[in-house]
Symmetry: C2
Subunit: 348 residues, 2 copies
Amino acid sequence: MGRPTLADVAAAAGVSPSTASLAFSGAGPVAAATRERVMAAAAQLGYTGPNPIARSLRRGQSGVVGVITGRHLSRSFRDPVSVQTLDGIADALGARDLGMLLIPFDDAAPGVPQLVAHAAMDAAIMIATPAPGDRALRTLLARDVPTVTLDSRHRGTASVRIADRAGMRDLASEVVALGHTRIAVLTLPFAPGRGTGELDPDHLPRPTYTPTRNRLAGVRDAGIRPVAVVEAGASLVEEGFEAARRLLARDPRPTAIIAFSDLLAAGVVLAARELGLDVPGDLTVTGFDGVDLPWLAPDVLASAMQPFVHKGTLAAEAAAALIAGEDVRTPDLTVVPRPGTTTGPPPH
Amino acid sequence: MGRPTLADVAAAAGVSPSTASLAFSGAGPVAAATRERVMAAAAQLGYTGPNPIARSLRRGQSGVVGVITGRHLSRSFRDPVSVQTLDGIADALGARDLGMLLIPFDDAAPGVPQLVAHAAMDAAIMIATPAPGDRALRTLLARDVPTVTLDSRHRGTASVRIADRAGMRDLASEVVALGHTRIAVLTLPFAPGRGTGELDPDHLPRPTYTPTRNRLAGVRDAGIRPVAVVEAGASLVEEGFEAARRLLARDPRPTAIIAFSDLLAAGVVLAARELGLDVPGDLTVTGFDGVDLPWLAPDVLASAMQPFVHKGTLAAEAAAALIAGEDVRTPDLTVVPRPGTTTGPPPH
DNA sequence: TTGTACGCGTTATCAC
DNA sequence: GTGATAACGCGTACAA
């Protein structure tokens, strides 16, 4: 015989299955003596508790929240942004005894992973901001899995958003206030699957990717008309490095580069160092996100700090609320300026 | 009416439930025309595939592997060692369409999380090497969840292990060959829940924590009789820093410090820098693990590189094999020396 | 090639 | 406080 079932325990204890169930779940009135007998029988048979799958079937809930990360977890794990978000999610889910099922997915790759389409989950959180039509998101919605997205609003999902437009406006305004006029912008991707490339500052397409759109709007809100715009293919130090080489080769050289993420900005700083440029003496650099990059010492990026952990926590709480059938409305989070050491007046 | 079931689809298509099931799973002969009708009915009703929970119950498998990490994922995510291991696990599980359920657990905290005790999983992988009697491991074994551990052997589990004793012996031998005689050792914890502290080199307890035991044995294999031993409370840069301050305050000062992890060794290098000591001119430092610490530049730690990603892959494959009911025997992995820049002859 | 019948292990509901 | 019954949604012998 295989694993004992609750029915076996009940039989051994001389009670009905329903009573045994109550004894275990504690969800009903059971005489202390009866409970004792049930527990004793369970111990005797080596029964370690209700089969979680059967319980899930009966209750119609799996107790699991799917967390959709970028393909290759290595990237998510190495990216300080995802790490903090995941951390917040893990904390909040754990506090509710909800499981966290990690599902790597990349919309650029063909096919939809089995797990997105078929894994048991009561709700899902998409770590990466999905573009409109994102296949994972579509699949989840088709399955009626309540979904939480970050940074962007989609039909049928709850979303946790951040006031990044205002944050970028404030940050960019400081650059303007310092006297810069030849300002270049290094953006995040405008849409999934686009490579790195230079754009015409006067004819920028509308980014479908929300964070890019908001931050671009923030730059404009600050009254900046960039002398050059480079779109990075991803938020990576290497991308920032390459883009900065292009921007810094221009004549006249920009006196400030506004990057849409700290990782990109870090790449800019490294490129400037390699060219023998002083930051901020020769070049002002700003980032976004407010992550900790000790290896960039002695420089500390001027940035806008996002509350990533809190973002994760709110996302998980939103997921829990969706599971409970509640309506979810999450307030926009705000970003906090971080002065850093990478801004200064333009060289004359 | 709620979500449509396979029975609904079958009814709509005018076939029996079993036929509809076969049409979806593809596990039996179904006429093309019949399949068409079933799929059409499914599309019509918005049926997105078999309910994963019911399917799990029926098959007796959940398709999920639990991954037990240290409490607070932030720590695991920030620790380059865990990150690489998780990465390897994620890759190998994903390739098999197995879900990865992340379960934070700390044996030092009271209680066993619900998830360890009650989550549905076909197998588990413990990222952190469990000490004998580890409560999560005991719980998993009581549940008959096939479990894979790293670096240590336990009854009833498969294990992926590394030849760290030999690796440490080789590394330590090089320090000896350079002529050092006043060698201090900075170890990992001997057992869970112990704090930082200095130990008597002549009366060391036997570490219950396997990696510590093996690396200590490796140091002895190299013929070293340490002048001082400090046990770190955890593999953290800060711990290494504090321990190094103690060790470097000794008179006569050790000329070499052998640390049991790169993070600890990095802390040692930082402490040496703060004291104005030259590495390796005044102090030789070695680490273990072979992780990439760009922020320590220009120093690169002499170390022994563990194949963490591969370790994770093997662990996941072992888990899959256990699920399939196969016997698992994983070969010991070897470590590769990394020369680094932190070793040299002792000052005269 | 298709249909029937049953069981996976649990829990909600209701009667006693 | 306890027990009988049904149902959660599916897969699979087995019979047709």
